[in-house]
Subunit: 345 residues, 2 copies
Amino acid sequence: MTAGRTRRPGRGVSMADVARLAGVSSQTVSRVSTGHPSVVESTRRQVLAAMQQLGYRPNSAARALKRGEFRTLGVILFTLATTGNSRTVEAIAAYAASEGYAITLIPVAAPTQDGVLGAFSRLGELAVDGIIVIMEVHLLDAANLSLPPGVQVVVVDSDAGDRYPVVDTDQADGARQAVQHLLDLGHETVWHVTGPAESFASERRTQAWRRTLLEAGRTVPPVRRGDWSADSGYRAGLSLAAEPDCTAVFAANDQMALGVLRALHERGRPVPRDVSVVGFDDIPDSSSFIPPLTTVHQDFAEVGRRCVQGLLRQIRDEPAGPGTVLVPTRLVQRASTAAPRRSPG
Amino acid sequence: MTAGRTRRPGRGVSMADVARLAGVSSQTVSRVSTGHPSVVESTRRQVLAAMQQLGYRPNSAARALKRGEFRTLGVILFTLATTGNSRTVEAIAAYAASEGYAITLIPVAAPTQDGVLGAFSRLGELAVDGIIVIMEVHLLDAANLSLPPGVQVVVVDSDAGDRYPVVDTDQADGARQAVQHLLDLGHETVWHVTGPAESFASERRTQAWRRTLLEAGRTVPPVRRGDWSADSGYRAGLSLAAEPDCTAVFAANDQMALGVLRALHERGRPVPRDVSVVGFDDIPDSSSFIPPLTTVHQDFAEVGRRCVQGLLRQIRDEPAGPGTVLVPTRLVQRASTAAPRRSPG
DNA sequence: CGGCGTGATGTTAACGTAAACATCGGGGTG
DNA sequence: CACCCCGATGTTTACGTTAACATCACGCCG
């Protein structure tokens, strides 16, 4: 048994305890604790010593109660399993920390109405000053949710720009760059592996792919639909490998591109000699695919930073209002794309 | 300008406001809010209506102050960028939520003493009842840290079993399975790409690799050191490709295995015909590597669950004490391993 | 028919902190 | 030398909630 760490609730060391030991008032302890200037150096040292000795830890509940704010942001999302989400959350946490805010994670059990409802009902009880929603807003609508009043919101990966501030990667321009790159290399057209239908990001990429082809006067081949996973990309890739005309593929994310690469490899269609492949995201692994993947780089750190900035602006009553912030992308050229073997006639 | 959402701090709707509107005392509102039984149905309905009308949201700071607990757990880690960390955090968040606890993320800016110190000084101010540390404890020691008193701790990925409760994947057994699998296939010995020296998980895997070889009476080839990234695996792989005797490689994680696969491919050493490769983690993409990777599956969900369980046990004063919980692994056989081309003489 | 228990509701106080105001002492200025 | 101002510190109070205790009405039992 470890030496009795008493842990009855409310048994913490309070300012009053520190004040008693240091022989000052608790207000002076408060001033030391918050770094108020008008405390004489000798007093400050005395108080700090007393804090150290007693193991004083400021009670943030009391602090929050007094200040009327929690200095905490909630992040509500379905999963951390996708590169984009985990990287975005990491950036959010880092930038929020630099602004003195902590991050509370609110996972949604399942991407269903019940799951979302559950998360939002828990939300009502949470100590947050604002919320960043990383998911499709139409799921919010479907669940007929009302966000807790008095809580500010910023949304990622959505088209809700008219109701909430939205921060997102410039999906459309990224997809355009990918397709244009393939066309510039001389490919007649570009085939596409799309993501799940309910994903806004996926839809945007697909729209931009189609528009870019149409504007260039090319035919628009039928899409293969995946679910972001490498496995689904593999299945799509098998189907594409069977299309003799297919010389260029734009996959809506790097993982599906990985699956496409494997399918083409297994079917004896060398990349990029026979078929060129472009992905989206630029996950760290993509430079080690076989061959290293040409892909659209997303700046997740910037997305996270902008989210927090926008949210803090709202919290501080600098009205930003609805509107969309688009974070630019850039094409990273590696070894998975090349000119087609025979120039189109 | 949106219809004046007044947001002066402390301007929230309080129980007193609800009580006034409902024509009851605030204590009755409190009882309704906490689900206390002795409120008559008609009163309850009145109060609920008033809450709805005013958009009442309980102030969790006040609640926490009164109760002496926050119902929040802190998770301190370096990065969410590794599969293991993000999956573990996700599991922690999910299980904690099911127990009525929220998760606060505490990112460490950099894996340096300063970074860790910064995180822990912030920690002192955070509203958490317990902490899950996902990193090497010797980094804590190096930084000469004292954890805030009265806060319970559980550690992942560490050897601090004698000071804190530890939950971790059974690294040693996973590595043993990987090596044994290759030996069973008939390989004379197994080469190894290790992770960064400061990682406990990496060291454990390497130790087990060496021990398994020695116990089988095999020679122990020199290790290649990587940093978990696919790029570092690629560099290691180039070096291994130059070893004519090398027929089997155990990479300490899947990402480095990916790099090894690419290096071997580029150097014309087909996998698994020429060289067999085993990874560690079983990330979702590994089944789409070229070829699909044989690897050691980690149960991150279970790790997360056990962490929370252990921490809550401590918080609830059911002393568990230091000790290590090991979560088992299992080998997933795919297409990157096979018997060596010529049986060893 | 009076007392008393029971269940519903109201009143009081306290959780730990920090803003606002009060006090106290010393040094500069007219 | 008296006065005033300012910086350091102390005192009071309120933040919103809930445990503990107080009160009140009602109905049952002796």
